[in-house]
Symmetry: C2
């Protein structure tokens, strides 16, 4: 069983329009609403792989009620008094335009309840995946608390976060999985090698860096392993990182070798690019990619 | 008692952002959610005037549940299986950008239930106000049906609609209140006089044309009455038309003279411009304007 933690889940609304007219009225041709947030997407990919997984997330307000009804994966909701955020993505004739609500602020008591629920949910789990941004006003050290709760329960941790939360996760000894840009931004490093060195020095157990078309690399204190990206894959990169995280999680939770974990992550990331929606993967393509096929 | 009918109510969401970045991610600084739709706004202004009013509207889905909880005026909801629309307005450094969802399609059975509920709600009413667009797939003649139901119950009607629905309302003998542009568009007329002549010929009891800064005119088969706009009023014109409709409705429902009705409409329209939100009016300013003051 893998437990995922989504600190700031979202109602992901996608509006399809014709020509985008900023400063004017745009008729929406098609509306899609989906539960979102990186941890939710990871859970969905794990479910598609038939890996037992359960999401832990704060839900509140009308948006939270909607999320609770619409989530298609097992989950534990921690009730909060605030309202979950909505993210509106407008797809028209150009690059998508995104409007991201800030999301709720949780009280200290709500975060304490969240930690208790997480501790209960970790009984019997193999891995905790913490994925996505923190809500407004949340201290980055919350991530370190969650990692420590898991380690205390004998559960390994994988954290996909950015900025101070990434540094806090490294300090707490998690496996961290930034992408190349997040790594440089959080560590203020000039290149990948020195950024990774910072995270390993802080205490990260393993640093996995996703590099998009340049593949994926895993750095341990003893060296680096790299696998290339699946060549020739074109489509929607949204959610590819979450699919790669799910692949990594599935392999780590079952104790498979690191090289196999990276290959699984790369193949799943590529299989997500073939699907228009974050949290979905093309499973037959994933299996072909895993066997060395190109797109 | 005035009954208002909102065929296509909306959740009006306003996002305040900084610089608008189309094709990029925009952090939302502030979120406001309000029940919307022209009939809802009219009801809200009537409530501010302490005129007894009740809204009739179709509600469905999560958006409908939210609307039912958030509406601050008396209402009769007709349950529908579809989901009410949401309208997102983005206010940043330029003109507001609006994304308008299409809204639900109602079945014939749902429209029949709607008509029955309307007929019940009209008992003892002085006036029916039909205001705003029809949902997708709704026949414009529905507006004529609602007007006939009201006339059958001895209740006068005021319709603020556009396009074929405006023509249908005129045919059914309603008082119609297009703005200048809607009048020309619906009647394919070159000028106001010939557009109004078309509506009167179709059967409209009275045609009231709102002209923004050029005031408001009422055309009867016997002639025209005009009142100027309140001079020097600057602010948010959204909702000024709905406030003017409410003023007209309040005066017509109590049988006051047409000139007084127009003056009330003009003063309320101006008092709405002073408020940032559709459906709100500055009541002290309204009373000053009614007594001849300028802004």
């Amino acid at each position: 069983m893998i437990v995922t933690l989504t600190p700031n889940p979202a109602v992901d609304v996608t509006y399809r329009i014709g020509t985008h007219l900023p400063g004017d009225t745009n008729r929406v041709l098609e509306v899609q609403r989906r539960p979102g947030g990186k941890g939710v997407n990871v859970t969905r990919v794990l479910a598609a792989l038939e890996v037992p997984a359960r999401a832990v997330l704060p839900l509140g307000g009308d948006a939270g009620r909607w999320l609770g009804g619409a989530l298609d994966v097992p989950f534990d909701a921690v009730p909060i008094s605030g309202e979950n955020r909505t993210t509106v993505t407008v797809t028209g004739d150009g690059h998508p335009t995104v409007y991201a609500e800030p999301g709720p602020e949780l009280s200290e008591a709500e975060w304490a309840a969240f930690a208790r629920r997480l501790a209960e949910g970790l009984a019997g789990a193999k891995l905790l995946v913490v994925s996505g941004s923190l809500p407004r006003g949340a201290a980055p050290d919350l991530v370190a608390d969650w990692v420590r709760i898991a380690h205390h329960a004998g559960v390994r941790t994988l954290v996909d976060a950015s900025g101070p939360a990434l540094l806090a996760a490294a300090r707490a000894g998690a496996v961290v999985k930034p992408n190349h840009a997040e790594l440089l931004a959080a560590t203020s490093a000039a290149d990948e090698t020195s950024g990774v060195a910072t995270l390993l020095r802080l205490g990260a157990q393993l640093v996995v860096v996703s590099r998009g078309a340049d593949g994926i690399a895993a750095y341990t204190p003893c060296g680096v392993l790299t696998v290339p990206a699946v060549p020739g894959v074109h489509g929607n990169p949204t959610g590819a990182g979450d699919a790669a995280t799910a692949g990594l999680a599935a392999a780590l939770a079952t104790g498979r070798p690191l090289l196999e974990a990276l290959r699984t992550a790369a193949a799943l990331g590529a299989a997500a690019v073939l699907r228009p929606v974050a949290g979905e993967v093309d499973i037959p393509a994933y299996q072909r990619f895993l066997n060395g096929a190109t797109a």
